[in-house]
Structures are given as C-alpha cells and as structure tokens.
C-alpha cells in the first residue's frame, strides 16, 4: 500500500476550472452574436464560421504535431480563435480567405511563439491584419444584411464623406447594418459580455476604459458619440479582443491603462489615420506594451502601508 500513496506539494484540493472551461464560456458568450449574424447574413455566415473553426483547429493540430508538442486542441482555444476570426471578416468573404486567415492566426499568431500563453499578440487580430494588407479588396468589400448588396460600411461613409444614408441608432444597436460578420449587433455582444462578466472570465476594466476613452474623445473630436461606439468593431474588440487573457495586462490598474491606450489609438486611427477603422491595430499596438505595463503596475503587496494608516 505504501507505494500507492501519492506524495505531492500542497494544496491537495483544487478548483474545477480548467483552460477548456474558460474557453467554453467564451464560446457560449459568442453565441448570441453568432445567431444574429446568421439571421442577418444567412447560412453563408455560419459556413464561414465553421470553415474558420475547422481550419483553426486543424492548423493547431498539425503545427503541434510538426513542432513535436503536446496536442492541446481539446482546450478549445483554437475554436475560440476560429469563431472570432470569422467575426472580424466581411460577411461576404470568399471561403479561402477565411481558411487562410485561420491558418495565419494559429500559426503566426500563436504556435510560432510556443502556443497558448506565450503569444504576445491577439492571434485573431494578427490573422486579420495580415489578411487586410494581403487582400485589401476582399477585406473591404461589404455587403448589406438580408439582401447581400455590396455597400459601404458606416465608418467608410464617414471617412470618405460619401452621401449614403447612415444607419439609425436602433439599427446600430440591434445589428442591422453593414460591417464585419460578428461585430454588427451591439445588443448581442453585450449579452455575451454580460455572461463573461458574470462568470468572472473577463474584468470590466479594459472594456470600460476602452469604450469611455473612445466616447469622450469622439465628442472632443466633434464626432457623434453613439455612432462612434456602435458603428465599427469597438464593442466586439473591447469585450472580446482587448480582454484576451493571454495578451492583456495582469493587474486591474494595468488593464485600465491598456483600455485607455486602446481607446486613444482607435480614435487616432479613425479620425487621423488612413483607414476607417482602428480597433484592430489599436489593440495590436497595445499588446506590444503589455510587458511594460505589467512591469509598472505590480499590485501593492501586503504590509507596505504608510505608518499613518497602520495605527488607525
């Protein structure tokens, strides 16, 4: 019996949460937006999501096999990457664009750095950024909901001063507007975000300060507040990309800095930059600063209070 007793370092009881249970929560949180996008853009949207997931998981499997690493596709992180990548592509994208994007996300965004936990950049946004510079036409060809007619995105209209009609606030909130596959419905995304907040998988700090910064600055720049909050990828980016646990700062104060930085860069790109939307690049740039932010936002350790407050 002696040699059947396990010897290990404390603690001897552990919580039930695993990497896959976290990822499952994210997948559940993305479902409302997925349903809305299928409603708006038809079954083709679902097909794109499925292709993206299949290629993400497949790439993860084969790259881990080739690199001689443990196969970790059952942690569901590649599924999350797949869904999110499809969400940030135009709903009328050709299937091969999605497939290439998924492979790029996993390979260049994640596996090349050593897999989940080691990637400095959000893999989804790496995939999107590479696609955007490689196939700029396909990546900016927007289609309208329901009928699929080629049109300009709301941010394009503002940026280029086109005289197309802008969507109403109601349409922006519910999602009936031109935009990326999963970013259009503010309501659906907020429902998903609320679920993640409730399950404590994300903290409010980054999205709150991201959105606040964008809101305040868009007023200062003379833009329309609600339009700027709901017309691009801000809600999706703030709640699902900037909160990516691997590529965002560790502490609450760090998350606040990160959110403000993302907001500043988004507005800078939207109002002064060459492209109509800035959320993707803003988050990628802020990802680079995460080690620095972490270094300067360590939590206050116990027992370092000033003498005055010690004797209360």
């Amino acid at each position: 019996m002696k040699d059947q007793l396990v010897v290990s370092v404390s603690p001897h009881i552990k919580g039930n949460e695993t990497v896959s249970s976290i990822m499952l929560d994210v997948i559940i949180a993305l479902f409302p937006a997925l349903i809305v996008s299928v409603y708006l853009f038809g079954w083709y949207a679902l097909m794109l999501v499925l292709i993206s997931v299949i290629f993400s998981v497949g790439t993860e499997f084969f790259s881990q096999k080739i690199f001689g690493k443990e196969i970790t596709i059952n942690d569901l992180s590649a599924v999350v990457t797949g869904i999110l990548l499809a969400f940030v592509l135009p709903p009328g994208s050709p299937w091969w664009l999605v497939a290439v994007g998924a492979m790029l996300s996993i390979l260049l965004g994640k596996q090349i750095f050593g897999g989940l936990g080691h990637n400095p950049f959000n893999p989804v946004l790496v995939g999107r950024a590479v696609l955007l510079v490689s196939w700029p036409i396909q990546m900016t060809t927007w289609t309208t909901p329901f009928d699929g007619i080629t049109s300009a995105s709301p941010l394009d209209i503002v940026k280029m001063g086109l005289d197309n009609p802008l969507p109403s606030y109601g349409d922006l909130f519910l999602g009936s507007r031109v935009g990326c596959l999963g970013e259009t419905s503010t309501l659906a995304l907020l429902i998903g975000a609320a679920y993640l907040l409730y399950k404590k998988q994300i903290k409010i700090h980054t999205p709150l300060f991201f959105i606040l910064t964008v809101g305040i600055l868009s007023i200062l720049m003379g833009g329309d507040l609600l339009f700027n909050l709901m017309s691009g990828g801000l809600i999706l980016g703030a709640f699902f990309m900037a909160t990516d646990i691997v590529t965002s700062p560790l502490t609450k104060s760090g998350k606040i800095f990160f959110g403000i930085g993302c907001g500043l860069l988004t507005i800078l790109i939207r109002f002064k930059g060459g492209t109509p939307e800035g959320v993707c690049y803003a988050i990628l740039i802020m990802n680079m600063l995460v080690p620095l932010i972490d270094k300067y936002t360590k939590p206050k350790k116990f027992g370092t209070v000033s003498l005055r407050s010690k004797k209360s």
Binding site: Q4, L5, I13, K14, G117, L250, K301, S312
Partner: protein, 434 residues
C-alpha cells in the same frame, strides 16, 4: 452583528460536515508512541531518559535547550525501548526520538503545581511554566509559546484564533464547544502575561454552535470581545486575521507585535490554561481525522507520538484503498508516505483521500488569466513568481516578492492551468537560502 473579513482570498468547499457534529473523543492508549525531540521551531530538546527506563504519563523526557526550545514529555506510561532517529512527518528528515512501549497502566506522574491564583504570578513565572509544559503554537507552526509571550515590543491586543479556515478540520470548533470556559481562562492568562488591555476571539460564521457558547462566556468578561468573520480562506493566517479584525497591516517581513498584536490559536490557549491552572504538561492534542478514505471521521484527543496508522484504526480503518494521506489541512498539509510517522504537537488533522480523488492533473503553461493575483492574500503576482522559478531565475522571483509568500495555496486552487505555484515557491525559497 457586523461580520469581518479581508480582501482577496478564496471561498473553498468546507467538507467540514464529515466531522462537524463529532465531539472530541479520547483514543485508546496506543501500544507504542514515538516522541520526537524536535517538534517545535528552534533547537531540539535533549533526551534525559535512557533505554530501558520506566516512564509515566507527563514525565519530562526531553529538556529544552536554550531559549527557543521547549520540553518534551512522555504521553503514555511504560518503558523506553529505544532512542534513535525517526522520520519527522513535517520536515521529512530523521530526528532523534524516544520510543516508548506502553505498559497499559496509563499511570500519571505527580502533577505539577496548580496555580488557580495565576493572577499572582509574574509574566516570567508564567512563561517558565509554559516552557516546562512543552507548549508550542498548536495551529500548526509549532513556535515555542513562551517566546511569543515575551515579546520585545508592547502588545495591546491579544487575538484568539478560532477561525479554522482549512477545509475538513473541525477540531478547534469542537474544542470551543467543549471548553469555552477554559479557553477564555487561557486567553486571560495570555493577556496578563503580555500585559494586553484587550482580548478578541475571532470565529468564522460557519461555526454557529461554537459562536453561541463562546459568546455566553465572553459576555462575562469586561475586556474581551467576540468578533465573527465571514468564511474565507486563508483567514486563519495571522496577518490576514489581524487585517480583518483590526485593519492593521503587519509590515512585510514583520511580526504581529510590530502592530501591537499577539495571535494565538484556541488550542494553544486551552493548553496554556491546563498547564498554568492544573499543572498539566502538553501530552495530547485534538486531531481531526477525516476525508472520504476513513470509515468514521472523528475528532480525537490524541496522545502525542501516536502513529497515523493507529489513528486511522481508531476511526474504523480505511473505507477504500487510500490514494493520499495528509497531515494537516488540505490546503497547506503535508502528504505522508509512511503511516508509522507520529503525531507531533503541530498536527491539526489527518486526512485520507481515496485513489479516485487523487487525479493526475494536466499541467499547462500559464495563460495569464490573473486569477491568482485576484486571490493572493499577500498582494503578490504568483504566476510571475512561478514563471521565474520555473526558469530557475531565483533573483527575479525574489524581485516579485517571493519571500512574502505564505504558501497558502489559494493561487493553485484557482489556477485553470493547474500550475504547481506553491511547489515553485518552496523550491525557490530553498534555493535562495543556500
């Protein structure tokens, strides 16, 4: 009534229901006890008996060496059959021990002097009685109590720790239910010794019976109050307890006395009372024997030096093939591979887990979810400490305040990647020592 607590920490399943109604029962007299001469922090006691000598219960068999050391006593009557190195359940090293074979008589040595009039004694006299009685902190640290009771700084408040925040354990709770009068008397002796003006008993809200009985007793005392705490781990850590009750923060690297506080466990208080008022040395203690792996989980008053296997037999044996045996609580306890090791003064529990409960965990790389930071009661960044320790960069780990870690294990409990952070911390601390 206002409930107190501290920031961060984690809510654990309590598993206390296994033993919650189990009153403290005496074990039968063990056939043999192994009494380690080093059961406390500080220099080991020196054996004053020889092989073949007859000893009685309560007879001193080890003399304290120097100030930071305490005496050791025989817990049964019988014959010394050997004095040799034996495995220490906590340190894992072999330490000199006295092995006594029982004669079945359980004959006590003549008791020490009773001091019902303890208020006439000076602090020094009380400390001497405590040292001679072999009393150490019974919460688990096993620091000699007489040293703690002669602090070089002024102490104005004594906190009695009845928190018992580790899951499974319920020995302190039962002690408070059975001996409220004695525990409060012990507290009064402690307060008198360190000249503290105020006493506080802190109990978590998951022990309603203990709270009720202690409250009655405390109501009779003018300068002692009861404070109820919200259930949370690791609230029984003295730094967390002081913060929760008094909002005083013990400075990093400091001791409770730096903020004018002394914390003692309720078990220690009881032992002090028995030593001072009744003249009894520390020869037994309350141990919770629990877990799904034992047939009848119980709270036992155990003779020090009894083996783990003896205690498990007293609880009806194993209920199925054991996978893990732990001395202490499930969060900070130490796994045992040899069930013949003895109970020491700091042993608060023996837990037996079945093989099914001992899963091999799939350890992943850190995914930076920062949950460990949220729960760390010391305000550290456990994931970074573990990362640097993993890469054997000890200095960087130290830079992340490694030495402030109390190894409570809250970070490991919440870690979704199942990283053995406490193991890394212990490793790094060991490496930095040499």
């Amino acid at each position: 009534m206002k409930k107190f607590t501290f920031k961060a920490g984690v809510h654990l399943p309590s598993y206390k229901k296994l033993t919650v109604g189990e009153e403290i029962k005496e074990t039968s007299i063990p056939q043999q006890v192994v009494i380690l001469l080093s059961q406390h922090i500080g220099s080991p006691a020196q054996s004053i008996v020889s092989k073949g000598e007859k000893v009685k219960v309560g007879q001193k068999i080890g003399e304290a060496q120097g100030n930071i050391s305490v005496s050791v006593h025989s817990s049964i009557s019988g014959e010394v059959i050997d004095i040799c190195p034996q495995l220490h359940p906590v340190s894992g090293k072999k330490v000199l021990s006295v092995i006594i074979k029982s004669d079945g008589q359980d004959e006590w040595i003549e008791k020490g002097k009773e001091h019902k009039d303890y208020f006439r004694l000076s602090s020094k006299e009380i400390c001497n009685i405590i040292k001679e009685a072999g009393i150490v902190g019974l919460g688990g640290a096993a620091f000699p109590t007489h040293v703690k009771l002669s602090p070089p700084k002024d102490v104005d408040i004594v906190i009695l720790n009845g928190v018992e925040c580790e899951p499974y354990l319920s020995g302190d709770e039962q002690l408070m239910i059975k001996y409220p009068v004695e525990i409060i008397e012990g507290l009064k002796i402690i307060m008198q010794t360190v000249k503290a003006s105020w006493g506080i008993v802190g109990i978590e809200d998951n022990k309603p019976r203990a709270i009720e009985l202690m409250k009655k007793e405390i109501a009779k005392q003018p300068n002692i109050s009861l404070k109820i705490l919200k259930e949370k781990y690791p609230q029984g850590g003295e730094k967390q307890l002081i913060k929760a009750l008094l909002n005083r923060e013990v400075p990093s690297g400091g001791l409770p006395m730096d903020v004018g506080v002394l914390v003692d466990n309720v078990g220690t208080s009881f032992a002090i009372r028995e030593a001072v008022i009744r003249g009894l040395p520390l020869v037994s203690r309350v141990v919770t024997v629990s877990g799904w792996g034992v047939f009848y989980p119980k709270n036992l008053r155990v003779r020090i030096g009894s083996s783990i296997s003896f205690l498990i037999e007293e609880c009806g044996g194993f209920s199925f093939v054991p996978g893990k045996v732990i001395m202490g609580g499930p969060m900070m306890g130490i796994t045992q591979y040899n069930l013949e090791v003895p109970v020491v003064k700091g042993t608060s529990g023996i837990l037996v887990f079945g093989q099914k409960e001992v899963k091999k965990e799939n350890i992943r790389d850190c995914i930076r979810c920062s949950k460990c930071i949220d729960v760390c009661p010391m305000g550290l960044v456990p994931c970074m400490i573990a990362l640097y320790a993993e890469n054997q960069d000890w200095e960087k780990a130290k830079g992340y305040n490694l030495l402030d870690c109390i190894e409570c294990g809250a970070c490991v409990y919440v870690c979704p990647a199942k990283r053995p952070i406490v193991q890394y911390v212990k490793w790094a601390k060991e490496k930095l020592k040499c």
